[in-house]
């Protein structure tokens, strides 16, 4: 469970997210959508505690600013939009870092349970066959799946994902969304920044729409992605075939 109340994020003197309030329950899977620059990533960063913000964030009922860096990591895991890896680590060690708050060891020095969790996460992300490979030798899509495995390896009950589908082919995008739905079914709370509205509507029972730093819609896909929102926020409309096309403004 995670909630934000009057969350405001200021970057270089500019409010990139303004007075954002919402509440996600255990087992809920929500998409956070909006045009470029709407403030989606900033909200995720503020929730993850990696950027300063005003307002209140509560994770699992606790005020987040009362948690230490490590306690927060136990409650919440974040997959950033840009994912640098400085050294050519092996795949298992990248994924093992997902459990850093519990077990700050490289894969082969972890306990049995932690290692099993890493292997399971690799499996879920369809990356088990990549273990043992040096990270920098992987393709962009393979790297994205290893990062996803890193996130899933965390035992945190709240998962925040920023554009997890980027760099993935269509089949892997569907696999990814199914894997995430399974995590929600298992009781985890997920907030996922997505650009593909159809993918969002298909897999996420709840959609939060941001525009110019504000939360402008929140609800089931049909309600949150109404014709009005599509036109006002995204500048698109559904044509007769149900496909999105650019609206004439």
């Amino acid at each position: 469970m995670i909630s934000a109340e009057h969350l405001t994020v200021t970057l270089n003197g500019q409010e990139v997210a303004r007075d954002v309030s919402f509440w996600l329950n255990d087992g809920e899977m929500a998409a956070l959508v909006g045009p470029n620059g709407a403030g989606k990533s900033s909200v995720l960063k503020a929730l993850a505690g990696v950027t300063p913000s005003a307002g209140e964030v509560r994770i699992g009922g606790y005020p987040a600013d009362k948690l230490t860096v490590r306690e927060r990591a136990r409650h919440l895991a974040w997959l950033p939009q840009t994912r640098p890896v400085a050294w050519n680590l092996v795949v298992e060690d990248v994924v093992a870092l997902g459990r850093f708050a519990q077990a700050p060891a490289p894969f082969d020095r972890m306990g049995q349970a932690d290692r099993a969790a890493v292997c399971e996460a690799l499996d879920k992300a369809d990356a088990a066959h990549l273990s043992g490979r040096p990270f920098q030798a992987l393709s962009g899509g393979e790297q994205a799946r290893v990062h996803l495995a890193r996130l899933l390896a965390s035992p945190a009950p709240v998962l925040l994902l920023d554009e997890p589908c980027a760099a993935l082919d269509v089949a892997h995008q569907l696999d990814l969304m199914r894997a995430l739905a399974a995590e929600a079914a298992a009781g985890r709370t997920l907030l996922i920044v997505l650009h593909d509205l159809e993918l969002a509507a298909r897999f996420c029972p709840r959609i939060l729409v941001m525009q110019a730093g504000a939360l402008v819609a929140d609800g089931a896909p049909e309600a949150a992605l109404s014709a009005g929102t599509l036109a006002d926020v995204f500048g698109v409309r559904k044509n007769a075939d149900g496909r999105l096309e650019r609206a004439n403004r």
């Binding site: 990696v50 950027t51 927060r72 919440l76 400085a86 060690d93 850093f100 708050a101 490289p106």
Partner: protein
């Protein structure tokens, strides 16, 4: 302990024994080995225990400290070219030592030199990390390092000019070239606190260095506090480099070469890099020190010069490979 660490420790042990045998005084191998075991001629025992072993221990400790500091700084700055010598940390440390000596603080308290050297090192490290936080990339940091080195050189000359009781230029040159010749157990004891505490701080930062591979923000979200890691590494490397400079002057490049060689053997893990890099750098410096004792030069080659003769080209090679990778 990994097999790599064990192997390196064995090599180091062999080199310690070799250090007892090799030197300018003509001592038969069997006598030197007997002296090492505390037997035989007292004169030979004195040569081995009071001259050769302290020198070997100093070379190993200085090398290991620089290797450890290099590996830790590389992990912190995510830059394989980082090292106390290249980044100007050693030069600032030498500046601290020179000030302590030439202005008479060293005469007041024997810990003045190591403390001043550690303070000098921390000034440079703080500047570098400040630049890194402000977003300075690899090239900028190296350029700042070059600037810091030259600036420290100029300040050392200035210190010499202004010193109330200047020594000869040869003393300054000694500090800038680096050597472990004629080091005693007392010198090593002066450096020991810096090495031990510095190493402990760096090891505490070890797991965090691996998390830092993902950058500051993600590391923080994983539960590793970047500010704490930076503090540990700055404190640790300043102590390691400062104590080393106080013992042996500035010796460059060992801190780059050792981690670079070790990295593929530890799966490029910044934490597991630390101990083997320290051992290898200690081995390199001990081997270099044995080599310069054996080389038939009239004037003994300075250890810092020998290290730079090998390390400089290796540095250029790594930099060229990096340039190609990022091009």
């Amino acid at each position: 302990m990994s097999r790599l660490t064990l192997g390196l420790a064995l090599v180091a042990a062999v080199l310690f024994a070799l250090s007892a045998i090799v030197g300018t005084a003509a001592v038969p191998v069997s006598d030197a080995l007997a002296a090492l075991a505390g037997q035989g001629d007292e004169r030979v025992q004195a040569i081995v225990w009071e001259l050769r072993l302290p020198r070997a221990v100093a070379a190993f400790a200085v090398g290991a400290a620089l290797g450890l500091a290099g590996a830790a700084l590389q992990g912190l700055l995510q830059n394989p070219l980082a090292e106390p010598g290249v980044l100007g940390v050693s030069a600032f440390s030498a500046l601290g030592a020179v000030v302590a000596i030439f202005f008479g603080f060293a005469a007041v308290n024997s810990f003045a030199v190591p403390v001043a050297a550690i303070l000098g090192a921390s000034v440079a490290t703080l500047l570098l990390v400040f630049a890194a936080i402000r977003g300075a990339g690899s090239v900028t940091l190296l350029l700042i390092g070059i600037g810091l080195s030259s600036f420290a050189g100029a300040l050392m000359s200035l210190a010499l000019n202004m010193a109330p009781n200047p020594y000869s230029l040869a003393d300054l040159v000694n500090w800038m070239m680096g050597s472990v010749a004629n080091r005693s157990w007392a010198d090593i004891l002066l450096g020991a606190p810096g090495w031990v505490i510095g190493a402990a701080l760096v090891f505490l930062a070890g797991p965090g260095l691996r998390a830092l591979s993902f950058g500051d923000e993600t590391a923080r979200s994983l539960g590793a506090d970047p500010a704490r890691i930076r503090l540990l590494v700055i404190g640790g490397t300043s102590l390691l480099a400062g104590a080393s400079v106080a013992t042996a002057g500035t010796i460059g490049f060992v801190g780059i070469v050792a981690p670079h060689v070790i990295r593929p053997f530890v799966r490029h893990d910044p934490q597991r890099l630390l101990i083997p890099s320290a051992l290898l750098a200690g081995i390199i410096l001990m081997a270099a020190d044995i080599a310069i004792r054996v080389l038939p030069f009239q004037q003994e080659l300075k250890l810092g010069v020998a290290a730079a003769l090998v390390g400089g080209p290796v540095f250029i090679w790594i930099a060229a490979r990096l340039g190609r990778a990022s091009a």
